[in-house]
């Protein structure tokens, strides 16, 4: 039995992008304001969960063909790789580096390797959350 949920789906199409934008904002704000990889990842995952609620699992996996286990592993690799970069420079593990750069449009910004580590965290959080929800949802 399928009810007509055109209102839910239309709202979702709109709100999904707002959630994703907000999660990216939260993710980049992490260094100077509350936020970071963990909350950002959870927000992104909640956006995808909203899609799952409005549509079904099959539609969402066709729209976003992502293997979330691989995503988790890649996130872990990015996080470890960032921390292990210090091995090449022979300084203690997890030593971060940063500098200021003049970026087009954004102007002078500081770029910090902690950002890369946070990217790893972000991917792991999205990957793990979606793995849990999908594998529970898939079970019939």
């Amino acid at each position: 039995m399928k009810t007509n949920d055109v209102i839910l789906q239309t709202t979702t199409n709109l709100v999904f992008f707002i959630i994703i934008l907000f999660s990216i904002h939260i993710f980049f704000a992490g260094h100077y304001a509350p936020g970071g990889g963990f909350v950002g990842g959870l927000l992104t995952a909640s956006g995808i969960v909203l899609l799952l609620l409005a549509y079904d699992i099959k539609t969402v996996t066709t729209a976003l063909p992502i293997n979330y286990t691989v995503m988790t592993a890649i996130g872990l690799l990015i996080a470890l790789g960032t921390a292990a970069g210090s091995i090449i420079f022979d300084v203690p593990f997890f030593t971060h580096a940063f500098d200021y750069f003049d970026l087009p449009l954004l102007g002078k910004q500081s770029l910090h390797t902690a950002m890369l580590f946070d990217t790893g965290v972000y991917l792991v959080v999205v990957g793990v959350t979606m793995t849990i929800i999908q594998s529970i949802g898939d079970d019939d």
Binding site: T69, V70, A73, L77, L80, D90, P92, F93, F94
Partner: protein, 494 residues
């Protein structure tokens, strides 16, 4: 290389991630898992040599000054444990090839083992009490996976108990660290050791010491807190059981030894007395269990509990002989428990049952297995040229030196019970009337038996060459007796 001491943690971690990318390609999983463990072994041996020549290695992550960042410290005790856990992991993985089955192998079995080794090695190496909690969680999470993987009914039931107990003890760990932090205001273990002597609040520190004993006692299965262990460990398949039996309780034992020699040295007449009494009760409880069962798994599992008691008795004596004996016995026990679990795994595979009363006469068809088991059993009980002897001798010597006559006599008596319990397996399974068995294929049998045989060989070498190992063990005991070395290595000249 400033980062050398992190390699035994990072290598299994890195390869576990790589293995997550292609869970269904079993051959690649096996080869890479062995390669990962081999490289970890090389890194640990290099580190062992480095620690032996240059003394304690310490590093504070992120180039922060010592008490503010997370310190990782590798002294003789921790590197010896890291080395022996890596050795065990190699043999368990090898043994798994012919025993664990394709279904499990294609569902993240090898990544699970590598993540667990990451946690174990990390817990042995860390110099920060909260970081130790995190590494405990890393190894526990992986052990949750390994205990439930396969989804048999008994595994599901026991994993619920196992997870429940460990979550409660982890919560207690956090609470205890919170208490300690509110008293001393630091989490770095070397710094805690300094602050505890400065703040002069023996009462609350003793309470925290007992709480830590409760926490690590739940992980390491000491007397009133071992109730979860026997049935939980009997649930998973044999290689997982060998890994758990050899490593998991030892992490708890290591944590007790570390905290009780580094932090809580002020009120020894209470804390170490308590530890001693509990360890003797642990031995008694373990002995009763080891004699009570006709199930081979249960007999060896209760022997884990006896060994935990023996090691902690040594640790509670706080003199050089007993501490050195504890380190000797700790490593012996890691090796021999791994070997024994693998051997009874072979026996169970041959007879198709773990009930002793349904076995018999195996010595006729599998003589080599029988004699190997006999040597392993003698090693466990501590018959002189074999591996269990020196450790127990030193522990008892330390016990007499500290004038704990009765405790030492209990340890001696427990050796007899240990011998009796493992000889019962030998007598029931290998002697007597042969029973109907469906013989294993040659290849399958060899795949199971060879790793166990080599591990027994290593433990024999460990016993015969103990003279040669003494400098390493006495280094390890020295750091525990003189925490100032440890503190100096972490905090510098302070």
């Amino acid at each position: 290389m400033t980062n050398l001491l992190l390699f035994p943690i990072l290598l299994p971690f890195f390869f576990a991630m790589i293995l997550m990318l292609f869970p269904k390609k079993i051959l690649a999983q096996r080869i890479l898992a062995l390669f990962a463990l081999g490289s970890t072994l090389i890194a640990s041996v290099t580190l062992l040599i480095k620690v032996k020549t240059d003394g304690i290695q310490a590093i504070t992550l992120g180039s922060w000054p010592a008490p503010f960042g997370i310190s990782m410290v590798s002294d003789m005790l921790s590197i010896l444990l890291v080395l022996s856990s890596t050795v065990i992991a190699i043999f368990v993985v090898w043994y798994s090839f012919s025993s664990i089955g394709k279904e499990r192998e294609s569902f993240f079995y090898y990544p699970g083992i590598l993540f667990m080794l990451t946690g174990v090695n990390g817990a042995f190496t860390t110099g920060d009490i909260f970081n130790m909690f995190v590494f405990f969680e890393v190894l526990l999470m992986s052990s949750y996976l390994l205990i439930v993987l396969g989804g048999e009914k008994v595994q599901l039931r026991e994993s619920i108990k196992y997870i429940l107990v460990n979550i409660i003890s982890s919560a207690l760990f956090v609470v205890t660290v919170a208490y300690l932090y509110s008293v001393v205001g630091t989490l770095n273990m070397a710094d805690i050791s300094v602050k505890i002597t400065q703040i002069d609040q023996p009462g609350i520190i003793t309470v925290i010491a007992v709480l830590f004993l409760l926490v690590f006692g739940l992980k390491g299965a000491i007397f009133p807190l071992f109730f979860w262990l026997p049935s939980s460990y009997a649930a998973p398949p044999i290689p997982v059981l060998a890994l758990f039996g050899a490593l998991l309780t030892k992490v708890g034992v290591y944590a007790i030894m570390r905290t009780y020699t580094l932090f809580f040295t002020l009120d020894q007449s209470f804390t170490h007395e308590l530890l001693m009494i509990l360890s003797i009760l642990t031995i008694v409880a373990g002995c009763i269990g080891a004699l009570a069962y006709f199930d081979v798994k249960k007999i060896i599992i209760y022997n884990i509990i006896i060994a935990v008691g023996v090691i902690l008795f040594g640790a509670s004596q706080m003199n050089e002989a007993a501490l050195m004996g504890s380190v000797f016995y700790l490593i012996h026990d890691i090796l021999i428990k791994g070997a024994l679990f693998m051997l009874i795994g072979v026996i169970i595979a041959i007879t198709g049952t773990s009930d002793l009363r349904k076995m018999g006469g195996l010595i006729k068809s599998y003589p080599m297995l029988g004699w190997t088991y006999l040597i392993a059993a003698f090693g466990l009980a501590g018959i002189p040229p074999l591996s269990g002897f020196v450790g127990k001798l030193l522990i008892i010597q330390g016990g007499f030196e500290a004038e704990n006559l009765w405790g030492s006599i209990f340890i001696l008596a427990s050796s007899l019970v240990v011998l009796l319990s493992v000889m019962r397996i030998f007598i029931y399974a290998f002697w007597g009337e042969p029973i109907e068995i469906t013989p294993l294929s040659k290849r399958h049998y060899r795949g199971l038996f060879t790793p166990a045989l080599i591990l027994v060989g290593i433990s024999v070498l460990y016993g015969v060459g103990s003279e040669w190992l003494v400098p390493y063990m006495s280094d390890a005991a020295n750091v525990m007796l003189n925490p100032s070395q440890y503190i100096q290595a972490v905090l510098g000249g302070a």
